[in-house]
Amino acid sequence: MRAYTDTELMISRAAQELENGDTTLVGVGVPNLACNLAKRTHAPDLEMIYESGTIGSDPSRLPLSIGDPVLATNARSVVPMTKGFGYYLQAGRIDVGFLGGAQIDRWGNINSTVIGEYDDPAVRLPGSGGACEIASNTDRTIIIAPHSERRFPAEVDFVTSPGYVGGRENRESLGLRGGPEAVITDKAVMRFDDDGEMIVASLHPNVSKTDVRNATGWDVQFSADLGETRTPTDDEIDLIRNDLDPDGIYTGGDGD
């Protein structure tokens, strides 16, 4: 088995969350690589939609932004934002959304707005973009983030994108669709239990329960059938390095 980087593991693991035929709202960076990897392996019919309004994109190279011209050329359709957000996302036509965030709490609520007080922030983050809508209207969201106590606090400073809010029932009663399906970090894969609380489903190779506990801001629970995370295959590593990100913009140079 070849050596791989943390990012490559996350890309490959995120790709596994996608089923052939899924419609997915793709973000830049790791989600973009994960979707394109899935499309070239087990999910050739994956429908890739970008919040810029490109529907069924088939990019000949990896875009830097979610609005690069390569996403429009050869797409199935291109629509204005009112339509992408209204007729596609809000209408429930999108199965999977990818989200990142500066803070993620035990219910999968995400903060990408501010660190500190909203009106006097220590760090002003970019804000929602379409994240609030993606979190509210897709069937399942996949959250991707590095694992640290700062990232996974007991409570987020601002709920940009609702997860299970205060639990599965809470989310449902608010009329929100779906909810977080998995959280993929550089240490573990986490899922959500019947109450909607995040629990560790698998640990990455060479990561201990203690490592995860120390990097999580609450007393995180572990699944009864805790396993080891699937690692990237040689083919996947080749695809990522040679085809998807040949310049190593996203996957960096920390592998091999």
């Binding site: 291109v78 934002m81 809000q90 929602s128 608010l174």
Partner: protein, 305 residues
Amino acid sequence: MTDVLEMSEAISRTVEDGQRIYLGGFTHLIPFAAGHEIIRQGYEGLNLIRATPDLIYDQLIAAGCASAVTFSYAGNPGVGSLRAFRRAVEDGEPNEVDLEEYSHFGLVSRLEAGAKDLPFVPLRSYVGSDYPEHNDAIRFVENPYDDGIDEIAVVPPLKPDVAIVRAQRADEDGNAHLWGITGEIVEAAFAADTVVLCVEEIVDRSVIRSDPNRTHIPGTVVDCVVEEPYGSHPSYAQGYYDRDNDAYLEWDEISETHESTQEWLAEWVHGVDGRAEYLEKLGTRRLLDLQPRSNLSVPIDMGDY
């Protein structure tokens, strides 16, 4: 009536200190040339409104043109932070700016309400989030139907004083063909009181009328038309030139301090008298690198009846 103007005159005629300004375009067709002209003419106290402030508002903020920013995603897309935006918000440099914040759908829905002259537009967002707590414009109304939804979020109309938007081609009357990512451009044009339309090329009326379904902006909402090729660089015009992703990556370093940002503005904005000189400075090599191979659409037949 629509006037065909030079950029400097279009801006001086339409923009005033303190106005609410919308520079349209989601990643695509961002009116950088117009933004630079606003900086050169030294406007102040603007409320800069855009879904994605992008580099252009980072530059306007650094130049001291803004007293407020209304937005939904203040990042350098695919790269990271907007550093000048953050300096203004976190440290008040070069001045404090007020923020009014939405998600993308909330902001474009506000434009849609403005374009349609509706008192509000409903959307299935914001429940379970902290937005309503910090933005009084986001409200909820009761659903008068018995279908399992008790209430829904609404946003009020947004009608910018001036919208500056770009399109690939238009006729002299301002009837514009757009293609590729159209984002929120059309809604901004219909919502604003005054509209400046900047295009890659002015074409004959017969070109526009040959395909009326593509005329997303009618000349009847346009106050003036500016022809300025490459006016979106480092953003792009689908079919005309590529997004200059290197420039977006470089901005992360250029904007690292207020001083380094000022140096860049001095050289690339104040140091040129307009887009033509900017392009000369950029050099043909870079423009050629951004040139896509052509890839024409299969025409449609409108029929001659």
